[in-house]
Amino acid sequence: MCLAIPGRILTVTDDGALTRRGRVDFGGIVKEVSLAFVPEARIGDYVIVHVGVALSVVDEREAARVFEYLQEIEDTRELEIRDQETP
């Protein structure tokens, strides 16, 4: 029910606060999506879409943090993780 997926905004139609919408590309499938709740979203942005309504603009910087965080914890805990890998 709370399934929401990221897609890239291709077009924006801005004809009213509640009817602001755009065409959004989900890996090749294009659907019309309400952009009423993401007034800051622009063409080219990725948005997280749930039941035809965009709920957030993906923060690309934060997306990269998931991988940086992994690297950081491995760097700081390198010895412990290595120890555990030894049979």
Partner: protein
């Protein structure tokens, strides 16, 4: 698909799992709140990557599963009316009511339609002014803004033939009900990332402090879940109980303020029954007075005879994380997706359906 595939990368997942193992010194029990997370955990085998000390139990985050039997029965009664087009997300069609399900109503001639969005139901009402179009508004805070927008659009378009059957529930009161229960096993929460995209997470501070439980707002892809588990275990090992945000690419502390504004324009907080759990105070949403003309319960003035739940079904205990589905004697034998005793066996977010699909079952076909 960008922002999906890279978060399913196997090597990074194994590295995160090793990192969890490296910091784990004793047993910990974590609950993922959202049924979408439960399905991802079982589908990608994340629980099997983790050290044996970490137990994941599955939370109440399946709106379809907790919609009370009485509301399902009302949905069936409305859907049977010849003047009604009954619109629902596909998940609800197989959920058992006292007598039958929406799929059965559709098979016997009822006009039951699966829609992708409540906005599709509003468009349908605009195209068919001679029919009553009813949308089954099921969901958590993630879905409530879209349903509120549907009501506002119907009002703006002057539609008198559109209404919603409201079954909205709120996540934080359910988390608190679980924490307050004497049977509570939860030591840390992975909070639901899309709910928090709407609501933000400032409201969780009180829960974390009061019950001394770490709460990590977590996404839905394997690396999100593994990082969320790492952050939660790290807090437990260090004796901390704070609110942290793993899913920062979508969730901001204040949430989506525009979605919140529209949601609270249309809905107000109310007491709500949870199927299998009982009444939880201030855990649901109802239409505010100016929007009650869109309330399907009022429009159709229903009273229904609701029967008792099947005694054998332990869905309520599964939804509270007291049991996992394979512990149920009926699991996979007398209760299957074809012949469900309870909603968690048919919902795409139900824990029973997830175990049946991804972990096999007593018939050995899984």
């Amino acid at each position: 698909m960008k922002f999906v595939q890279e978060f399913r990368e196997g090597t990074a997942a194994r590295r995160y799992a090793r990192a969890v193992a490296a910091i784990t010194t004793r047993p910990w029990t974590l609950m993922e709140v959202c049924g979408g997370q439960t399905h991802a955990i079982l589908r990608f085998g994340i629980d099997e990557l983790l050290p044996r000390e970490i137990t994941l139990i599955h939370g109440p985050g399946c709106p379809v599963c907790v919609t009370p039997l009485e509301l399902i029965d009302k949905a069936l009664a409305i859907a049977r009316r010849p003047d009604v087009v009954f619109c629902s997300f596909g998940d609800m069609l197989r959920v058992p009511g006292s007598h039958g399900d929406l799929q059965g109503v559709k098979a016997s001639g009822g006009d039951v339609r699966i829609v992708y969005s409540p906005l599709d139901a509003v468009a349908l009402a605009g195209r068919h002014p001679e029919r009553e179009v009813v949308f089954f508004a099921v969901g958590f805070e993630t879905t409530a803004p879209a349903n509120a927008m549907a009501v506002l659009r119907a009002r703006a378009a002057g539609l008198r033939n559109f209404s919603i059957l409201v079954a909205h529930v709120l996540v934080p009161p359910a988390m608190e009900a679980i924490l307050a229960s004497p049977r509570c096993r939860v030591q840390g929460f992975l909070a639901a990332g899309h709910v928090c995209t709407v609501t933000g997470y400032a409201g969780y501070d009180r829960l974390a402090h009061t019950y001394h439980v770490p709460i990590v707002v977590t996404g839905f892809e394997p690396l999100d879940l593994l990082q969320g588990i790492y952050m939660c275990v790290r807090q437990l090992e260090e004796g901390r109980a704070e609110v942290e945000n793993q899913y920062a690419r979508s969730v901001r502390r204040e949430g989506n303020t525009e979605a919140q504004r529209v949601m609270s324009e249309v809905f107000e907080v109310s007491d709500r029954q949870w199927r299998g759990i009982g009444e939880i105070p201030r855990s649901g949403l109802s239409l505010r007075t100016p929007y009650q003309m869109f309330d399907a319960e009022r429009r159709f003035g229903l009273t229904v005879q609701t029967t008792a739940e099947p005694a054998e079904c332990i869905a309520g205990l599964v939804l509270q994380g007291v049991h996992i589905p394979p512990e149920c004697p009926a699991f996979g034998t007398r209760c299957t997706p074809e012949t469900p005793l309870g909603a968690p066996m048919v919902s795409s977010e139900g824990a029973c359906a997830a175990y049946f699909r991804f972990r096999g079952h007593p018939r050995g076909e899984g």
